[in-house]
Amino acid sequence: MNTTIPSIGLGRVLLSVLKREISLGLRQKGEVLTPLVFFMVIASLFPLGVGAESNLLLRMAPGVLWVSALLAAMLSLQRMFATDHADGSLEQMVLSPTPLGLLVLAKALAHFLLSGLPLVLIAPVLGLQFGLDTRSLGILMLSLLLGTPTLSLIGSIGAALTLGVRGAGVLLSLLILPLYIPVLIFGAGAVEADAAGLGIGGHLSLLAALLVLSLFFSPLVTAAALRISLE
């Protein structure tokens, strides 16, 4: 008797994991909304901290919004694997014939859609509060759109490494935030470069390069880290 596993196309697996993650995420609205509210609160704290002088705020805006986005993306990372680990479905994923890297990629994409994309959409509202003009707002959105998927992908490595570890939340930020620095530099830099009259092509190209690199490598690394965590 040879038991053949019915072969499912990898694209369909990717889609079904993506759908599962998104419907799970949407059922717990707090999961999606809390990082978003956190993002708004953090960004609103800065004017209170440094004063409401409009020139200063305008100069700080890209950096402040980007740093807030990093922290907000960080907030929901830990849950990427934790719930599946708790109910055992993560083990099934590791054991399944589908490459683990692909499943991880789907989970990272879902994380981007649920936590990165809302940030991209709400960022212009916050940008307005800092006095950014329409052009800068567009560039800010574009840089966030290119950068936040990278955050989800790199973050998945940290989430896998800290799975089931003591004090995982704080540890995760210590591990991952230094790795976010290039994204922060080029993301916030794009808006500043445009305001300074320089081209933004270089910054956006580098953000895209980081995205492509992490798109290829981080699912593999995350899969390896998950296998270590579940050993």
């Binding site: 490595i157 490494l161 800290t162 570890v165 003591r166 004090g167 540890l171 210590l174 591990l175 935030l177 230094p178 790795l179 620095i181 290039p182 530099i185 080029f186 830099g189 500043e192 470069a193 580098l206 980081l210 490598f217 690394v221 390896a224 880290a225 270590i228 965590s229 050993e231």
Partner: protein, 245 residues
């Protein structure tokens, strides 16, 4: 004549390496002590006073070796981590975790000495210069490694998880470095550069001696620390009970 063959893989076993490390570390420690004394003597009494920087420049005899070692040790650590993941050897993970605190210490030392040098030379303790910033980020990477290590109880899992982290870090270090350089030029930061071209030969000799001394110290302390790690991890075995009895 019979040629003596050394079976190198013998030392992949912690028990054998424990003995080897025990024989080696006093030599490296001795060399480190001698070289430090010679190096400090050269740097304090032989090397001339710098024409522009006065006596204050002498801190570079500690600063330069410390920052070199902090970067180099990260690479060595990542290399051990890679070997550990590839060949599943226990000793590799132990070596990586033995090196991490020394690397972190050197990164910290390099930042401290740098800011002590910066105060009289640049008039400020800290500038967001590309090299300073990337050294700071390197320190963060070391701290992340140490934090991950200490928060996983199972040493084998800790070794492997830290190995993945070290490799990810090693890939990211150049990306971070170049992005910080770009960020720095964009921000028109303090454009200070050390003109190392016209360095007196005694200064160079002092610096090289100190670099060697730091190397020897790093090797000695890593061997000493790996001995402790081996004892700790193998404490349930008979040979450890005999060794410490």
């Amino acid at each position: 004549m019979k040629t003596r063959v050394i079976h190198w893989f013998k030392f992949a076993s912690p028990q054998n390496f424990y003995v080897l490390a025990g024989r080696m570390w006093p030599w490296f420690a001795g060399l480190a002590a001698v070289l430090t004394l010679v190096g400090l003597w050269i740097s304090f009494f032989v090397a001339p006073v710098d024409a522009q920087q006065g006596q204050g420049y002498r801190i570079i005899f500690v600063h330069v070796p410390a920052s070199q070692m902090s970067m180099f040790i990260y690479l060595v650590m990542a290399a051990w981590a890679g070997i550990g993941l590839a060949f599943n050897t226990r000793l590799s993970g132990m070596m990586a975790s033995a090196l991490a605190p020394t690397g972190a210490l050197f990164a910290f030392l390099s930042l401290i000495t740098g800011s002590l040098w910066g105060k009289p030379m640049w008039g400020t303790w800290w500038v967001w210069d590309a090299r300073l910033t990337s050294e700071l980020i390197l320190l963060f990477l070391y701290l992340g490694f140490l934090a991950l290590q200490s928060s996983i109880d199972d040493p084998r899992r800790a070794d492997k998880a830290c190995a993945v982290l070290a490799l990810v870090g090693a890939v990211n270090v150049p990306i971070i470095y170049f992005s910080v350089i770009w960020w720095n030029t964009l921000h028109q930061g303090a454009s200070v550069s050390m003109k190392g071209s016209s360095m007196a030969s005694t200064m160079l000799a002092g610096m090289l001696t100190m670099v060697l001394a730091f190397w020897m110290y790093a090797i000695a302390i890593a061997l000493l620390r790996v001995r402790n790690i081996i004892l700790d991890r193998e404490r349930h075995t008979d040979w450890v009970k005999h060794a410490v009895a």
